[in-house]
């Protein structure tokens, strides 16, 4: 006796429901530059129209000079967001530069090494970026010129899996941008 329980399933509609054409997504992202890596400042909520003026390492008022001669980053100990004396010295230089070059804004990017879970590391990077920001504010930089973002462990600059690379990745990077906070 063949008595079947019939279970109809809407296989077609469900199986084909996900996008199969690449041109169906991405529309909302056009013109945006999300996911900027270390060193990039596009898409970080700033108006990019401001004049930067003369650039280059030879000009002490240039973002290049800031990044390389003053030092755009400070490093942290494992699972810490406390600023070392070396970090504070770097941030003193950053604060001085930002006070002199008052047309510039900055986004401080917080990062973590890969030895941690993903979402915790986003929160840890936020803590590190904020530590750098608070220090710059304490040295006189207006808070309105400083914004923070965390990339967690998603944007390493050093790719090996040993302490020498981890030390470089546990960082807060001050990225200079021109214009007004949007």
């Amino acid at each position: 006796m063949n008595k079947y329980l019939t279970a109809s399933i809407l296989v077609g509609a469900l199986a084909l429901s996900a996008c199969t054409r690449p041109d169906r997504f991405g529309g909302g992202a056009d013109g945006m530059a999300g996911g900027a890596g270390a060193g990039a400042n596009a898409g970080a909520g700033f108006d990019q129209s401001g004049a930067i003026g003369q650039s280059g390492l030879g000009n002490p008022d240039s973002p290049e000079y800031f990044a390389q001669s003053i030092g755009d980053r400070v490093l942290f100990q494992v699972d810490q967001s406390t600023l070392t004396s070396e970090a504070m010295a770097t941030l003193d230089g950053q604060a001085q530069w930002l006070m002199t070059n008052s047309d510039y804004l900055a986004v401080i990017e917080g990062h973590a090494d890969e030895q941690g879970t993903r979402e915790y590391n986003v929160a840890l990077g936020a803590r590190r970026a904020n530590a750098a920001r608070e220090y710059l504010i304490s040295r006189g930089v207006p808070s309105s010129r400083l914004r923070t973002i965390s990339y967690g462990k998603e944007r390493p600059v050093a790719t090996c899996s040993d302490p020498s690379c981890y030390a470089q990745n546990r960082r807060a990077v001050t990225v200079i941008a021109a214009g007004a906070l949007s």
């Binding site: 063949n2 008595k3 079947y4 329980l5 019939t6 279970a7 109809s8 399933i9 809407l10 296989v11 077609g12 469900l14 199986a15 084909l16 429901s17 996900a18 996008c19 199969t20 690449p22 169906r24 997504f25 991405g26 909302g28 992202a29 945006m32 999300g34 996911g35 900027a36 890596g37 898409g43 970080a44 909520g45 967001s81 890969e114 030895q115 941690g116 879970t117 993903r118 979402e119 915790y120 986003v122 929160a123 840890l124 936020a126 803590r127 590190r128 904020n130 530590a131 608070e134 923070t148 973002i149 965390s150 990339y151 967690g152 998603e154 390493p156 050093a158 790719t159 090996c160 899996s161």
Partner: protein, 443 residues
């Protein structure tokens, strides 16, 4: 009457989590009892499903292989190769020649038939307990479209698994994950969706901006994830069918991330960082009303709701290191539940309600583990350079997670393991992949 038992090593967890009498009790002794002991996979035979319409031979063969692969893939079943068969059924309606199957020690026999009419596909099957010489349950028939043939195979395998184990299956389910490509210091990420076995992979977003940690809605029709599309971490809600997406308006803050659906799918529970401090909030997707669930100067993130919706497990470093805490769904005083050595993160409540899976970091290694919801009976299931982010199969018996290999050329791959720590394997995803979120059994 013979009783053949396959014991799945589940340590002492089973005693308190045993189901009521399995649904198959009336069907006969063909069963896998989950209890302590050593596993001996149950041998089954699945002759190629009969093609009942002209031209259906290929899809019938393909569906048969899906059924076999699903069952083998659990680690609980072993397929007897067709080269050992003494006879095969002349038709789906033919009487079963039990002695021929007993002779090759097939304990379960699955027969099936496939018919194609236009783009309509009909699959029917029967399951037999060879040693008692009786059918286990009634024949079942599924109807769908030819394009969904893999799902038809999964449906058959889910029914077989369910009848033999007394538990619901998990084969007809999908997983949303992050597909990764490019070098380690410039990795592109986009959301992908796939069947539980890595088949039918499709992208849900482009790779223009960083995406993190997607989560399926309870119904599997929507996905919450963290997106850097705006330049800063924000929470997006994506409709799977249309791949349309929108940014959720969260409480004010510098960063919003770690979103999870509530059990009714109507609200999102997530983290916001402001001034370096991270707490957990809830926002109603309809009204936009917010509430704050934690208020501490420490990091509170990675929430996960209990299946009854009454409690939230999350991670916090309020004690000085990452540990797991449970609080009422509306907030309130959290109770710490993790007390072992090391750090605990990314907790996920089992859909059965009995266990919490987590990532543990200790002595330079990462582990996926499970513990009871009060923190007792912790067991580590995996160990590697970097394992993290577990997600539960719909039946609470298998976990997927991210395993990352070390070094500049290393990268993440989605893996799965059952809650006994057995059957560890990589899920084929066609490249680097991370942060799986296992959706519900499809209807």
């Amino acid at each position: 009457m013979l009783t053949r038992t396959i014991a799945l090593l589940l340590a002492p967890l089973v005693a308190a989590t045993a189901l009521p009498a399995p649904a198959l009790a009336q069907g006969g002794p063909l069963q896998i009892t989950i209890s302590e002991g050593v596993i001996e996979p149950l041998p089954f035979a699945v002759p190629m499903f009969q093609a009942e319409t002209a031209g259906a031979e290929q899809v019938a063969a393909d569906i048969t292989r899906v059924v076999a692969q699903d069952l083998i893939g659990t680690g609980l079943f072993r397929e007897i190769p067709s080269t050992s068969f003494i006879s095969t059924p002349a038709s789906f309606a033919s009487p079963v020649a039990y002695p021929d199957w007993r002779a090759i020690n097939a304990q379960a026999l699955i027969t099936g038939a496939v018919a194609v009419n236009g783009d309509q596909l009909t699959v029917k099957f029967r399951l037999y307990d060879v040693f008692t010489g009786a059918e286990l349950g009634e024949g079942l028939q599924f109807t769908g479209t030819t394009g969904g043939w893999r799902r038809m195979g999964h449906k058959v395998a889910d029914a077989v698994y369910s009848r033999i184990t007394g538990e619901s299956g998990y084969f007809d389910s999908r997983v949303v994950f992050v597909s990764e490509s490019g070098p380690k210091d410039d990795r592109a990420r986009r959301l992908g969706i796939m069947d539980y076995d890595g088949e039918n992979r499709q992208f849900l977003t482009d790779s223009n901006s960083l995406v993190l940690a997607p989560r399926f809605s309870p119904g599997g029709d929507r996905v919450l994830y963290t997106s850097y599309e705006s330049g800063f971490p924000r929470i997006n809600l994506l409709d799977v069918a249309s791949v349309g997406r929108r940014q959720i308006t969260t409480v004010e803050g510098e960063m919003a991330f770690s979103p999870r659906f509530t059990k009714d799918g109507q609200s999102v529970i997530y983290s916001v960082s402001t001034g370096g401090n991270t707490d957990i909030y809830r926002t109603d997707l309809g009204s936009g009303a917010h509430s704050r669930l934690t208020s501490a100067p420490s990091i509170e993130t990675s929430p996960s709701l209990s299946p009854d919706g009454s409690r939230i497990v999350f991670e916090s470093d309020r004690s000085g290191t990452q540990q797991l805490y449970v609080m009422p769904v509306s907030g309130g005083e959290p109770q710490r539940i993790s007390f072992g050595e090391g750090r605990y993160g990314s907790p996920v409540w089992s859909p059965r309600g009995d266990l919490i899976a987590f990532t543990k970091q200790n002595a330079g290694r990462f582990h996926i583990g499970v513990m009871r919801t009060d923190g007792s009976e912790e067991r580590l299931l995996t160990s590697s350079f970097l394992d993290e982010s577990p997600t539960w199969a719909p039946n609470g018996r298998v976990l997927m997670f991210t395993r990352e290999t070390q070094g500049a050329s290393g990268g993440p791959q989605v893996h799965s393991v059952d809650i006994s720590g057995r059957n560890l394997k990589q899920v084929p995803t066609g490249g680097f992949s991370s942060d799986p979120s296992w959706g519900p059994l499809q209807q």
